[in-house]
């Protein structure tokens, strides 16, 4: 494994010019994954229709990809990317991996190739759950990255099956007595393990070093590695500038999306999120800065304390109970081998 310092100074394949919102966690993820992949191996990305795609692959103005300063003759620094439809990124990656493997098997390709797929949570676990699980099931040697902003952001922040309970989305609006999204999120971490992934992680770039190491590990994985990357979305979660990393850390620490790393045969661990609720930050700290939860909590002017809005007490307790079960679930999953 490379040292963090060495990895951090590599040339990312994510280049300036994207139109992702300033403060979008996806750009931080792209930047860092882009650096890890500058490892002397030719890199191919596949990407589904999503914010990450429309904001980086607009011809001819914004193609924010490629290792800009690398000499063009350096094949190992060359970079290719393909977008097809919304749900197709894992299948595309699988096909590229297969072609490279067949070519390698007969000696036609002598240089190694690494393949990573990128989808939003909508592309991966709503419309694309079937291709996601089947590509994992076929034990494809790729890294599947799912950028989980809990919405269909690209089309205007509609509900996705990863949405936190009771969040306000444009299709599960918090209107009148209805407290936003009433569905419990799909257990995608467990699904990825059950489908046969060799490495499954839930980790955001806010956990910088661990994030880089996990990506690096995923590239060495001999089966399918699946990285769910919680990605605070400044426009959809509706928080103030400068709080992206803070919210990613808070969300992980309070138990909404705990950092989790698991490897087949070895089991896993929940990081930076104690099992004991009293040792974790209160969920209110995570909820209060985001206007998608403004119908749920408010900050008392006199004490500065974040409390349930009148009439929402039970809903907030339900969310707390779900968070508790979410943490317990991941601790239980960590024991799986």
């Amino acid at each position: 494994m490379s040292s963090y310092k060495e990895t951090a100074t590599r040339e990312s394949c994510f280049q300036p010019g994207s139109t992702l919102c300033p403060g979008c966690m996806e750009s931080v993820a792209f930047q860092n994954i882009g650096r890890v992949t500058d490892n002397g191996v030719k890199t191919i990305f596949t990407i589904g229709t999503s914010c990450g795609e429309v904001s980086t692959l607009a011809f001819p103005d914004v193609v924010a990809w490629g290792r800009g300063n690398a000499p063009p003759e350096a094949f190992e620094k060359s970079f290719s990317i393909i977008h097809n439809v919304f749900e197709s990124a894992p299948t595309l990656a699988e096909s590229i991996r297969d072609v490279a493997d067949v070519l390698t098997s007969c000696g036609a390709l002598q240089r190694p190739v690494q393949v990573l797929s990128f989808s939003g949570d909508g592309g991966a676990i709503a419309i694309g759950l079937r291709p996601l699980l089947h590509t994992i099931h076929r034990r494809t040697r790729i890294t599947i990255t799912v950028l989980v902003n809990e919405f269909f952001a690209n089309t205007g922040f509609q509900y996705s099956p990863a949405a936190t309970p009771f969040s306000d989305t444009s299709t599960t609006p918090a209107v009148g007595p209805t407290p936003g999204n009433l569905n419990m999120p799909l257990d995608y971490v467990h699904l990825a393990i059950a489908a046969g992934a060799d490495l499954v992680a839930q980790i955001s770039p806010a956990h910088g070093k661990l994030f880089m190491k996990t990506v690096e590990k995923s590239l060495e994985c001999q089966g399918t590695a699946v990285l769910f990357v919680p990605a605070p979305c400044i426009s959809g979660w509706k928080y103030d500038d400068g709080r992206t990393v803070e919210l990613a850390l808070l969300g992980a620490r309070c138990g909404i999306f705990p950092t989790f790393i698991w490897e087949r045969g070895q089991g896993g661990a929940v990081k930076d999120c104690p099992l004991e609720a009293s040792e974790r930050p209160r969920i209110e700290e995570f909820l209060a800065p985001q206007r998608r939860f403004a119908h749920l909590v408010e900050t008392r002017k006199d004490t500065g304390e974040v409390v349930a809005r009148p009439g929402r007490e039970q809903t907030l307790e339900k969310l707390r109970a779900w968070t508790e079960s979410n943490v317990e679930r991941l601790y239980a999953l960590a024991k799986l081998k």
Partner: protein
């Protein structure tokens, strides 16, 4: 990871789609790894699906066969799978995906990964429909190395009918594929062999969709002349040259970008221009095929004629997309009336009728175009049905007011 010691130096070429690293993929190694299926011209008995499977197995450029079963195309993937299983140390692989949608996505990634290999699959009816989201991407992609063999079957499932009419392929006229209809086992085999030559031609670069009738052609046996793999390779190598544009593996490139409407025009213009080149390239490939193998090659029409001499003639269009309007106009310009027999459901006068009428529209004295539907759902078109349809033509010529666009079956107008 470290780069192993390399034996092939890289040649870098700049293209309008990014860098291309020539010799990053040594295609000669792929060719050398091919195990011939036939070393000499051979006579076999085969059904249509087997004929198509043999053709795809004989190509050295086809190394991965993605597929998903659907009647009546299933035997294509079964035949390929049996062959691949019998040669576990060969490089060819079957790729069983979870659905046709995934097959199409897979082909998009694979064909973009290496633009010099051919990626074939076979499907039918709702299977083709299930691919649609991506067939439209593929049609515009420039990936002429994708081949979807469509075994005609009625679409859709209400009511479900597994017999073959071409309503599936005709529902996909605008997906962007070159659509060629084949009849009989020999023509199926020959068409599949020529299709990648056309699709991968540098002026065309458009995916192909050869098709044939489900059940009648897919399932019934007939004698088939199979060529030696080496002869096929020599023929295909004359037409298929290394792709001038980079692929994902041998390039530094991007596929599937977004564009604003300003640039969309240019992409569509290029797509259309490439498709129009088929009119020039197809006859050249067909002619070379005939000279090489002594059988008719790709053509706009299937050789056909009316059994009895008299005032009636029969023309069978085998080139569905792009529609050979100029050739149709030329062929029919002296006709007094044209009866177009459509075999697929259409809410209007029939897909083929509209194209034929359009082709003849500009003639100074255009023949009258009449429309009929027959053989829907793969039904036999009996002699009495032909008679009933012809009767309409005769009466129209005699100046009678006749009903247009009727469905004919067993000699009756329904």
């Amino acid at each position: 990871m470290t780069t192993p010691e390399l034996t092939v130096p890289l040649l870098r070429i700049q293209t309008r789609s990014g860098e291309r690293y020539d010799s990053a993929i040594d295609l000669e190694r792929v060719r050398a790894a091919h195990r011939p299926l036939h070393t000499a011209r051979t006579e076999v008995t085969a059904d249509g699906n087997t004929a198509a499977a043999i053709a795809t197995l004989q190509m050295w450029r086809a190394v991965i066969y993605p597929g998903f079963p659907i009647t009546p195309s299933t035997k294509w993937i079964e035949t390929v799978a049996a062959h691949v299983a019998a040669q576990p140390d060969g490089i060819k692989r079957v790729k069983l995906l979870e659905a046709e949608h995934a097959v199409a996505d897979y082909m998009a990634g694979a064909a973009a990964a290496c633009r010099d290999l051919v990626f074939p699959t076979a499907t039918s009816s709702v299977g083709l429909d299930h691919m649609t989201e991506t067939t439209r991407s593929l049609g515009a992609s420039g990936l002429g190395n994708v081949m979807i063999i469509d075994v005609y079957r009625a679409t859709a499932n209400y009511p479900l009918c597994i017999e073959g009419d071409p309503s599936d392929t005709l529902a996909h006229r605008d997906d962007g594929f070159i659509q060629i209809a084949a009849r009989g086992k020999q023509q199926i085999y020959d068409t599949v062999l020529q299709a990648p030559c056309l699709g991968m031609h540098p002026d065309v670069m458009t995916p192909t969709m050869p098709g044939y009738y489900g059940i009648k052609d897919s399932h019934r046996n007939a004698r088939l002349t199979v060529e030696a793999d080496s002869a096929i390779h020599a023929f295909q190598d004359r037409w298929i040259r290394p792709c001038p544009l980079p692929g994902l593996i041998n390039g530094d490139t991007a596929f599937g970008n977004c564009v604003t409407s300003r640039f969309f025009q240019g992409f569509k213009l290029e797509q259309k221009r490439r498709m129009e080149k088929v009119f020039e390239v197809l006859p050249a490939i067909g002619g070379d095929f005939e000279r090489t193998f002594g059988r008719p090659g790709l053509a706009f029409f299937d050789a056909a004629g009316w059994p009895e001499s008299g005032g009636v003639d029969l023309a069978v269009v085998s080139m569905l997309t792009p529609f050979p309007s100029a050739a149709v106009r030329e062929k029919l310009r002296r006709a007094r009336a044209v009866l177009v027999v459509n075999q697929a459901h259409h809410m209007g006068r029939g897909h083929l009728t509209l194209d034929v009428a359009d082709a003849l529209g500009n003639l100074p004295s255009a023949p009258r175009v009449l429309s009929a539907f027959a053989g829907l759902g793969g039904a036999d078109v009996s002699e009495s049905t032909w008679e009933a349809m012809l009767d309409v033509g005769r009466r129209a010529l005699a100046g009678e007011d006749v009903a247009d666009g009727r469905i004919y079956h067993e000699g009756a107008a329904l």
